[in-house]
């Protein structure tokens, strides 16, 4: 902060920091055929970590398909599926510690499930019951964010506050390829870099913002190329390789913890379902494209590898699937009857203490409802 540091680098050399650029090939351990490749840039997850990743993906996938079914049955109002992005949802969350924070979007219900939240709480918003169904402080998960990119700034602020208070906390924020076009993403990356805030930005690049393809969203070589413009190191990973996502986020989080500041990670992946059940994806993408990505399924990929390496046998596999089925049953169960809804809640949380006007409006509504009961 010395005045001289303020001298705009007068015509003179600057360090070029090419090291901030992503690799030219997305980092990965597992290719679509389930073959393992060394990846120098990333530390290699231990076998038990790979098994854990697989288990969480199977459960997450089952949750996702169950939620889709619940929409069809009218138990849920809307659900944005993340099927196909399972490796991002699970790999990033398992890389976090208890004291870290997660800033998810509407797309990231599976990430929340992986973090340990109860399904009924995760789905409260989507069943139309209340805006946020869980206590953000319990698992250190911010409310799922709908206004795109706005959560990036919250993550930076929370992470900076943690450093301010001397806490060992890292914030992981999830955003999509489309959200990278919003001004808030830019401001968040910049604030994080200037403050060296312990934040990991994970862009789930699934190729579309609803119907808009990446080619209409950006002309950048890759989204990871945005990092250098803020002085932020960037990684580009195969978003369908849970091992790569897991290890990239873990390394980024450790660097943040060590005072290295933020990291930008682009995970290249694909959303297999429509944007939400309300969307018709056939209007903007071809069956061929979807098929192409089916061959890159993150679960098949890891499962094939684990089985081949005998880290997963039939029994273990069956056990995981049984666990997933039990979980799905729990989900159906917990959403079977409507939550009780108290109209008075409308007025309770607008301010810490309801204002006189809100108390009066609450009373008016109560009177109307009472009259309706008797009428």
């Amino acid at each position: 902060m010395s005045i001289l540091s303020a001298v705009p680098s007068a015509p003179s050399d600057v360090v070029h920091r090419r090291d901030l650029l992503p690799s030219s090939v997305p980092l990965r351990f597992l290719d679509s055929d389930g073959h393992w490749n060394a990846c120098g840039a990333l530390f290699q997850p231990a076998d038990h970590e790979l098994v854990a990743l697989h288990r969480a993906m199977v459960i997450g996938r089952r949750f996702d398909t169950q939620a889709v079914a619940l929409v069809k049955q009218g138990r849920l109002a809307v659900y944005p599926s993340s099927r196909g992005q399972d490796a991002c949802q699970v790999g990033s969350v398992l890389a976090l510690r208890r004291q870290d924070w997660l800033f998810p979007t509407y797309r990231d219900s599976v990430a929340l499930i992986t973090r340990g939240l109860a399904p009924v709480e995760v789905l409260t918003l989507l069943r139309g019951d209340w805006h946020c169904g869980y206590d953000p402080y319990k698992f250190r998960v911010a409310p799922q964010c709908t206004p795109l990119a706005t959560n990036c700034l919250h993550a930076v602020g929370l992470a900076h506050a943690a450093r301010f208070k001397g806490e060992d906390t890292v914030a992981l924020v999830l955003l999509g390829d489309g959200a990278t076009s919003e001004g808030d993403t830019h401001e968040a990356l910049n604030f994080a870099a200037v403050w060296k805030a312990p934040v990991v930005f994970l862009v789930q690049n699934n190729g579309y913002a609803i119907s808009v393809p990446l080619s209409k969203q950006t002309a950048a070589p890759t989204l990871a190329h945005k990092g250098i413009g803020y002085g932020i190191p960037s990684l580009r990973v195969d978003g369908n390789d849970a091992a790569a996502v897991y290890s990239a986020v873990k390394e980024a989080a450790e660097s943040a913890r060590a005072g290295g500041g933020p990291t930008l990670i682009e995970a290249v992946t694909y959303r297999m379902d429509a944007h939400t059940n309300a969307d018709d994806a056939t209007r903007y993408r071809s069956a061929a494209e979807v098929e192409l990505w089916r061959t890159r399924d993150p679960i098949d990929r890891l499962q094939g590898y684990l089985v081949a390496r005998h880290l997963l046998d039939e029994h273990a596999l069956a056990a995981v699937h049984a666990e997933a089925e039990a979980f799905a049953a729990e989900v159906r169960e917990s959403l079977s009857e409507d939550a009780c809804r108290d109209p008075a809640d409308l007025f309770r949380f607008v301010y810490t203490e309801p204002t006189a006007a809100l108390r009066a409006q609450n009373a008016q509504l109560a009177a109307e409802l009472a009259a309706a009961d008797h009428g």
Binding site: A77, V78, L125, L126, R127, G128, D129, W130, H131, T146, P147, L148, G178, A179, S181, E182, G183, D184, A209, I210, S211, V212, K216, Q217, T218, A278, D279, R283, Y284, D338, R341, P343, D345, L346, F347, V350, T355, A357, L358, Q361, L365, E368, L369, A372
Partner: protein, 346 residues
């Protein structure tokens, strides 16, 4: 008939939804004016999340119907630059709350550049915003944001209540030399009316009397107009004669039409689903009271949404003004005992 076709692009009266009417208005405007183009998120290939621009990209090309990058300030800001260079951009904001990132461009530039340049720059831009609730939408998808715009001098703000007027108002908005915030009551998108779409009609800044009545005047617009009409119908069954005014233009306000009706009835209720506190209804009450004070038998009442962030879907029915709440307000208009309020006669 040919002339009719030319005028409306439609053969004759037929049942049409508000969504279809808006789509037709955009299509006819694109056909009529080469300098007009549509900008927004998912407006091209997809036809918009509400399908209001359905088929337009295929028909007019994706240089006329543009899927922009995902950034609302960027959309409005570039639209301003385009208008400075002679184009007539019609911008679609995907939902009410997602127009907020563009707030600085709208308030500091869109509303002010004509004035700042002493008239040299004209910005004939329309910003279409699906607004309000009633569709079981989740947070950020149901805001009634009209007052943010009506409180900003330099903007015209209009909101149609019927399919026919949606067509007329949108054609008028696109032809207006002033920037127009065009608020579409999304819960009325699928409402249908048998009407012949016509670009001519009441001027863009005029209110219309949807139902004349002698006992009291209901004043509304957009999504709650139909509720006001229902209330008037229900009251009529009790021999009660309520008039209903559709404001159409929120800014400027049509004092003439509204005050004439209120002076006749001496009683009025303003209805909108936006929160009451500092909501649009406050201006209606304040200016009409000032102009009609000695004709008023009772204070003009407001039936509005509560002063809360928009309610979750399962509770929104309690938040939205309904027929009963409107009739309750009518009953509170301090009727003297020579006339009995509707319910007591039921």
């Amino acid at each position: 008939m040919a002339e009719l076709l030319e005028r409306t692009g439609l053969p004759a009266a037929r049942p049409v939804t508000m969504a279809a009417a808006l789509n037709q208005a955009l299509s006819d405007s694109l056909a009529a004016d080469d300098s007009m183009l549509i900008l927004g998120e998912d407006v091209g290939t997809l036809g918009g999340v509400f399908r209001i621009t359905d088929g337009l990209a295929a028909k007019f090309g994706d240089h006329r119907v543009v899927d922009t990058p995902l950034a609302e300030s960027g959309i409005v800001g570039t639209a301003i630059g385009m208008a400075m260079n002679g184009l007539r951009p019609v911008v679609e904001m995907q939902f009410d709350a997602f127009a907020y990132p563009a707030f600085e461009q709208i308030t500091s530039h869109l509303a002010k550049l004509h004035n700042r340049s002493r008239g040299a720059i004209s910005l004939p831009i329309v910003i279409r915003i699906p607004y309000g609730g009633g569709i079981g939408g989740v947070e950020h998808h149901c805001d009634s944001s009209e007052v943010y715009y009506t409180a900003t001098p330099g903007l015209r703000v209009v909101s149609p209540a019927t399919p026919g007027d949606a067509y007329t108002l949108l054609r008028q908005a696109i032809e207006s030399p002033d920037p127009v915030i065009f608020l579409e009551p999304k819960r009325r998108y699928w409402s249908s009316e048998t009407v012949q779409l016509d670009r001519t009609g009441p001027a863009i800044d005029r209110a219309v009397v949807r139902r004349s009545g002698s006992d009291a005047t209901l004043i509304s617009y957009g999504g709650t107009l139909s509720t006001a009409l229902e209330a008037a119908t229900a009251a009529a069954e009790d021999g009660w004669d309520l008039g209903v005014i559709d404001l159409r233009s929120l800014s400027p306000f049509d004092d003439e039409t509204v005050c004439a009706a209120v002076r006749r009835t001496g009683r009025a209720v303003v209805i909108h689903e936006a929160s009451g506190f500092c909501g649009y209804g406050a201006e209606v009450v304040a200016r009409v009271t000032e102009q009609c004070f000695h004709h008023l038998q009772a204070p003009i009442l407001r039936v509005t949404g509560f002063d809360i962030p928009y309610a979750p879907p399962t509770l929104e029915e309690h938040h939205l003004p309904g027929v009963d709440r409107i009739l309750d307000a009518v009953e509170r208009l301090q009727w003297n005992d020579t006339v009995t309020p509707p319910r007591d006669r039921a």
